[in-house]
Each structure stands twice: as structure tokens, then as C-alpha cells.
């Protein structure tokens, strides 16, 4: 029955998602905009930054760690070393896609139902709180995750069209794949879960978005940590990070169920 109910929520949420032009555009276009923007930034850095950027103390530690992790990079000219360093960040940049989609969609998932009055009718059905929250989370996280993987493919395609195919091969390490297929799903679920929590606690959609925004900062911090070389995410570290976030997902679901107070939702939203 639980699976049937979650599937039921997924079907309904997807019907609503793809009949709302704003949400549909957000899911389909935003990932390409993120990828395109970062590739443009990398191209500008490669074209005009080059050795000057690498000479900066900010990148020195990161470059040393990159050379330790991928020794073949040392044979490349400085500008290509910079490019490999930047391309290597893409595993974390991709994490921004589910997070941004979550802010745009999950933040409204409960608030909208409160405003239209459908939530009270829903609360009078036998659906359990965790089924409702899981359904809403997966309904956003699954398309966001699929689009992230499509974006990863798009990234590799554009990089190869730009003639950087040999460089991108260097960054396709086990850590990259772990990040794409374990860390990204975990982050997608966490983002949507936090969005749904925000939506169930907030008094309006703006408040919900503000709560969901919190998850962006750790992702930006991850990119910053790696690009400045403070911590280099080896395969093991990426695996540990992914497992930690999966643990946080479970805690977040339990917290979401506790924070989803049917009573206050029914009383405060008339």
C-alpha cells in the first residue's frame, strides 16, 4: 500500500509539474543554463587567465593536490593544467542543478496545497505523513536527478566539441562517477527534502524558498574547498561524503515527519 501511495503522489506531482510552464521550463532549461554558464567561464579562464591564474596563491595548493591525484596533468602546459583543475570542479558544480530546481519547485510543494485547501482534504485520507513527504521529495528529486545526468552528458559533449576531449578524459576519475551516481542523488534528495520541510513550515512561498536556500551554501562551500585545495576529494573522500549525506537524508526524512505538524497546518491555513 505504501508503494502504491507514493507512486500515486509521484504521478499527481508530475502531472502538475509538467502542466505548469514555469516549473517545466525550470526543470528542462535551468540545467543547460548552469552547464553553459560554467563552460563559458572555463573557456574565458582558459583563453584569458592561463598562467596568470595558476600563479595565484589561491590555486597553488589545489594544483599541487591535482598533480598528486592525476600525475599525467604535470606533462601539460600551464593553461591546460588550469583547465583540468576547473573541469575537475564540475562534479560539484553539477550538484547545484538539483539544489536550484529544489528551490524552485519543492519550496512550493506544500505551501501551494495549503493555499488551495487541497492539503486539508489530503490530511483526511489514510496517507501517512512520511509517505506524503517522500512522494513529494521523489517527485522533484527524480526529474532533477535525470536532468543532472543529462547535463553531465551535455557537459562532456560540449567539452569535446571545444577540443578539450583529451583533458576531460583526465577528470573522469572514479571520484567523478561516484559523485555523479551516489553523491548527486543523495544531494538531490536532501535538497528536495529540505525544500519540502521549508514548505511545510513556512507561512508563505517566499519563506519556504528562504529555508530551501540554506542547502546552496554547503554546495558552494564544497566547490570552494576543492578549488582552493583545502580538501581534495579523492575517491574515498567522495564516497565518505556521499555516505554522510545519505545518512543526513534519513535524518532529514525523520525530522521532516516530526516537523510536519498536521494540526498547525490545518489550523493556521484557512
Amino acid at each position: 500500500m505504501t508503494l502504491r501511495r507514493i507512486r500515486n503522489i509521484l504521478r499527481k506531482e508530475w502531472s502538475l509539474l509538467f502542466t505548469d510552464p514555469n516549473s517545466a521550463l525550470l526543470v528542462t532549461l535551468l540545467p543547460f543554463a548552469v552547464v553553459g554558464q560554467f563552460i563559458l567561464y572555463f573557456w574565458l579562464a582558459f583563453r584569458f587567465g592561463g598562467e596568470g591564474m595558476l600563479g595565484s596563491s589561491v590555486f597553488q595548493t589545489a594544483l599541487e593536490k591535482l598533480l598528486q591525484a592525476i600525475p599525467e596533468v604535470s606533462a601539460l602546459p600551464a593553461s591546460e593544467q588550469l583547465l583540468v583543475l576547473l573541469l575537475n570542479q564540475f562534479q560539484f558544480i553539477l550538484l547545484l542543478i538539483p539544489v536550484m530546481i529544489a528551490i524552485g519547485i519543492a519550496a512550493f510543494s506544500i505551501v501551494d496545497e495549503k493555499l488551495t485547501g487541497s492539503l486539508e482534504a489530503l490530511l483526511a485520507t489514510p496517507v501517512r505523513t512520511w509517505e506524503l513527504l517522500m512522494g513529494k521529495t521523489l517527485a522533484g528529486a527524480i526529474p532533477a536527478l535525470l536532468m543532472t545526468w543529462v547535463s553531465a552528458g551535455f557537459f562532456l559533449l560540449v567539452v569535446s566539441l571545444l577540443g578539450w576531449g583529451n583533458l576531460s578524459q583526465l577528470v573522469l576519475t572514479p571520484s567523478w562517477f561516484l559523485s555523479l551516481f551516489l553523491l548527486t542523488p543523495a544531494v538531490a534528495i536532501l535538497s528536495f527534502m529540505l525544500g519540502v520541510i521549508g514548505s511545510s513550515r513556512a507561512k508563505d512561498s517566499k519563506g519556504a524558498q528562504n529555508i530551501a536556500l540554506i542547502v546552496v551554501f554547503p554546495i558552494l562551500a564544497l566547490i570552494g574547498i576543492q578549488v582552493t585545495g583545502i580538501i581534495w576529494f579523492t575517491t574515498l573522500r567522495t564516497l565518505v561524503l556521499a555516505l554522510v549525506i545519505i545518512g543526513v537524508d534519513i535524518i532529514a526524512l525523520r525530522a521532516a515527519v516530526r516537523l510536519f505538524q498536521r494540526e498547525s497546518i490545518a489550523i493556521q491555513w484557512r
Binding site: 499527481k12 488551495t116 485547501g117 492539503l119 482534504a121 483526511a124
Partner: protein, 313 residues
């Protein structure tokens, strides 16, 4: 058989008592009208009985399930129509129902959805988005949603509020049909005429339960039955004859109308008419003064205000 039973049911929101010590029983298959002014605790009571909010004191059993312990099972056997239809405007009527049906153990969802769309007269519009429906159609769709799993108890919160007379009448007809189907209906409404038309019994609430009985019994409780005799022309002699009759408690003349209060309205009425005719009175019509539920309700509310004032002073 009692299907809803409450005992000392109370709900407090911080310092405000919304429902106080509500004790009552609703029989299976009846329509109970739940009346009261705004803020009287009607919606709070429905939400408690529907297991959406918990009581702060007291308990209730609905269709065999404790409202504070057995919520999931309770939700399988109740239906609820909230004040707003709460539909998904971008989904079709059919999809709206299929979604809600998906939460209940229904074997053939499509067949069940078809049955209720047809019952509500919405089958032809099944693929239209709910957002394109009129208020009345939305309300019918919301009723279908509340009924689709064939609940034992149906809670209706202001089901005709905001509807035009035609749509309201359609909804009332549907409520009657549901009763005929054996469903127990707990109907919260401000519309006293509607309550009188539909309900077997009426409960009046003003935070606490003020009255619970049939409309007729409530009338008797608050108003004495009076016989109205319409004469062809005013006749002071007839009034004197009537006042002299041993079973007449009070008689008043208002032009050619006599208002007479009898000891036993049914038994004494023929004797009254005979005495008037024998005294030369030309009787045109004899009827009983009709008190509406609204008059009963207003009397109850006035009594409450008086008792509140006395309590405060």
C-alpha cells in the same frame, strides 16, 4: 446504532476554548445538522472527529475508531468535504478523483471514479480541468472525492456556502441521496433552512453544546404551539367565547385573526372550531403557527447572551 460518540470532547487553542465539553451521540444513517455562529467551534469539532486535530480533553469514537489513536483506520471510513473544495485546478476531474482514490484500498479505481463522476453529473466533463468548473461543479466534484471510498461517516463543512440557489439545491439533493445510501452525515451549516430540510436532528453549538434534538422538538421546547383562526371579519364576541373555553390557555385577536394557545393542540382544535362556529363565527381557515428553525436558533442564541451577561455581572 450509535456511530459517532463524543464524551467531554474539548479543544483549547492557547487561552481560547474552541470546543468545551461536547458530549453527544449520532445514530448511524442520520443527518445531524451542526449549527452555530462563526467561531462557535463547528469546524474544530469536525476536524477533531475527522482525526485531523487532537482534542485537548475528552474522547470520541467515530465508526468504531478512537479519533486520537486509530487515525489511519479512521480515515479509511470517513469522508470529508472541507469549506473550500481544495481541488487541483490543473488536473482533470477524473485525475483529481483518481489521485484521492489512490490512498484507499479500492480494487478498481477507474470503475469507482466513473461511478461517482456519473452520480455527480460530471461524467461528460471528466477530462476537463477542475479549474474550468463553476463553483457548483467544483463542489460536486469535491463531494465525489469525499464519497468515492464509500465512507460510513461523511463530514460536510458548509457544503452550499457561496453557491447560487440552483447549485445549492443540486448539492442538497445529492446529500439526500447519500443518506438514502445509508451514509451518516455530519453537516455543519449556517443555512438554517437547509438544516431543517435535510437533517434528522439539529445540534446547536456555541463552544459548548446548547441543544440537540429534532427541529420539531426544539420548536416545542422554545415556542408554544398556537392555532391561528382566520375569520371572515373581526368579532369581539368570538374572542370572549374562545377565552371562556376550559382548554384555552391564551387567546389574542389581531384584526380578523385569532391566535389561540391550547392545552393539547391536536385534540382541542376540533372542539375550538365547533365552539366558534356555534357562536356564529365565520371561520375561513384554521392553521398552526409555524416557527422556523431560525426563530428557534435566535432564541437559543439570545438565551446564551443573557446567561453570559448574567455570568459576567
Amino acid at each position: 446504532m450509535v456511530i459517532i460518540e463524543t464524551s467531554g470532547l474539548s479543544r483549547r487553542f492557547k487561552d481560547v476554548i474552541a470546543v468545551d465539553d461536547l458530549t453527544m451521540a449520532v445514530e448511524s444513517g442520520e443527518i445531524l445538522g451542526f449549527l452555530g455562529p462563526n467561531g462557535a467551534g463547528k469546524t474544530t469539532t469536525i476536524r477533531m472527529l475527522a482525526g485531523i486535530i487532537a482534542p485537548t480533553k475528552g474522547e470520541a469514537i467515530v465508526a468504531g475508531h478512537r479519533i486520537d489513536r486509530d487515525v489511519e483506520k479512521l480515515h479509511e471510513v470517513i469522508g470529508m468535504l472541507t469549506e473550500t473544495p481544495g481541488l487541483y485546478s490543473r488536473l482533470s476531474a477524473r485525475r483529481n478523483l483518481e489521485y484521492f482514490a489512490g490512498f484507499y484500498p479500492i480494487d478498481d479505481v477507474s470503475a469507482r471514479v466513473e461511478k461517482y463522476l456519473k452520480l455527480m453529473g460530471l461524467w461528460e466533463r471528466r477530462e476537463d480541468k477542475a479549474g474550468t468548473f463553476s463553483k457548483g461543479m467544483k463542489q460536486r466534484l469535491a463531494l465525489a472525492r469525499a464519497l468515492m471510498h464509500e465512507p460510513k461517516v461523511l463530514f460536510l463543512d458548509e457544503p452550499t456556502s457561496g453557491l447560487d440557489p440552483e447549485a445549492a439545491s443540486e448539492v442538497r439533493q445529492l446529500i439526500r441521496r447519500m443518506r438514502e445510501g445509508g451514509c451518516t452525515i455530519f453537516l455543519s451549516t449556517h443555512n438554517l433552512g437547509e438544516a431543517e430540510m435535510l437533517c434528522n436532528r439539529i445540534a446547536v453549538i456555541q463552544t459548548r453544546l446548547m441543544a440537540l434534538d429534532t427541529a420539531e422538538s426544539l420548536r416545542r421546547r422554545f415556542f408554544r404551539r398556537k392555532v391561528i383562526v382566520e375569520l371572515q371579519s373581526p368579532d369581539p364576541n368570538i374572542l370572549a367565547v374562545v377565552r371562556a373555553l376550559p382548554f384555552v390557555q391564551e387567546a389574542k385577536e389581531e384584526g380578523s385573526r385569532l391566535s389561540v394557545e391550547l392545552i393539547d393542540s391536536e385534540r382541542n382544535r376540533p372542539e375550538l372550531v365547533r365552539a366558534m362556529v356555534e357562536a356564529g363565527g365565520k371561520v375561513i381557515t384554521v392553521s398552526e403557527e409555524q416557527y422556523t428553525l431560525e426563530q428557534v436558533y435566535l432564541r437559543l442564541m439570545n438565551e446564551e447572551k443573557v446567561s453570559d451577561t448574567q455570568a459576567h455581572s
